[in-house]
């Protein structure tokens, strides 16, 4: 499986986890105010995931270190938002426990995504170094 495939799979897993978190809405009806806040946060998280997906799709055509920085920045932002959610849900124990298990899964899938991006980045750096080496070899062979 290629790095891009691994990253794409991990993105799907992250999206699925978000969908599961979103389904909490029905379970949390009596905490409507919290859920509304929660949905707003989820919407924002979705937007970030969409940005990440876009970056990955772009990356398939032309991969640059800048793209990885963008993805990493997105992941950092996701983590920050997740921490905010934890704090918010902590006010109600029942809601908090449900949220905690889903968000834990979400954390896990985001970490997998981050790891696969890191693996890919190392692969890219090594590939770039090999290409750079080949470039100099060609020049020196012709000297």
């Amino acid at each position: 499986m290629s790095y891009i495939e691994v990253i794409s799979n991990n993105i799907s897993t992250v999206k699925e986890s978000y969908e599961t978190v979103e389904s909490m809405e029905t379970q949390l009806n009596k905490f409507l105010d919290i859920v509304l806040d929660y949905q707003a946060s989820l919407k924002s998280l979705y937007d970030t995931i969409d940005e990440l997906t876009e970056s990955i799709i772009k990356a398939q055509n032309k991969i640059s270190i800048q793209e990885f920085y963008k993805i990493e920045k997105g992941l950092v932002s996701l983590h920050k938002k997740l921490v905010e959610l934890y704090v918010k849900e902590r006010n109600d124990e029942k809601c908090y426990l449900v949220a905690k298990s889903y968000i834990k899964n979400l954390h896990c899938s985001i970490n997998n995504l981050k790891e696969s991006i890191d693996d890919f980045r190392i692969f890219r750096i090594e590939l770039d170094e090999d290409r750079e080496y080949e470039h100099f070899v060609n020049i020196i062979n012709d000297l």
Partner: protein
């Protein structure tokens, strides 16, 4: 007879080592000359502790003792050079010690690329050396 040239990277590393004799690297020029001066091009082409063999040249890492500190090859210096197969010229790219203040454990791909870039960029302005006389800098005849 081989011709020995150096890049500015090599001279910078060399100067760093010989700048302060108390650091224990002052024999480095002698140690380089001793390892290379008694051998012809074909001999030197066969020397290596690590190398990349390319069509017209080789990049070699050679272990040298540090005679000033009585250190073995394992604990002495690492000389990185490029040897052309046909042109009979050797380009000294880098030198670093395995012990002491300026010790370096190894050299990575990115560093090799940087040394090669330096060689390619310096082209005609490489420094010629006398390998029989403590790497004395010479003017091309």
């Amino acid at each position: 007879m081989c011709k020995f040239y150096s890049t500015s990277d090599f001279r910078k590393s060399l100067n760093l080592l010989i700048k302060k004799p108390k650091e224990g690297y002052s024999s480095v020029k002698n140690d380089i000359c001793d390892a290379l001066c008694k051998h012809n091009h074909n001999d030197i082409l066969q020397f290596y502790d690590w190398m990349r063999d390319e069509k017209n040249f080789r990049i070699v890492k050679l272990r040298l003792p540090n005679s000033g500190q009585n250190l073995s090859k394992a604990n002495g210096f690492r000389l990185i050079y490029l040897i052309h197969k046909e042109k009979k010229s050797i380009i000294l790219l880098d030198i670093y010690p395995k012990r002491g203040n300026h010790k370096k454990n190894s050299i990575d791909k990115a560093e090799i690329n940087r040394l090669l870039a330096n060689y390619v960029n310096e082209g005609e302005s490489l420094q010629l050396h006398n390998i029989n006389s403590e790497l004395l800098e010479m003017v091309e005849a």
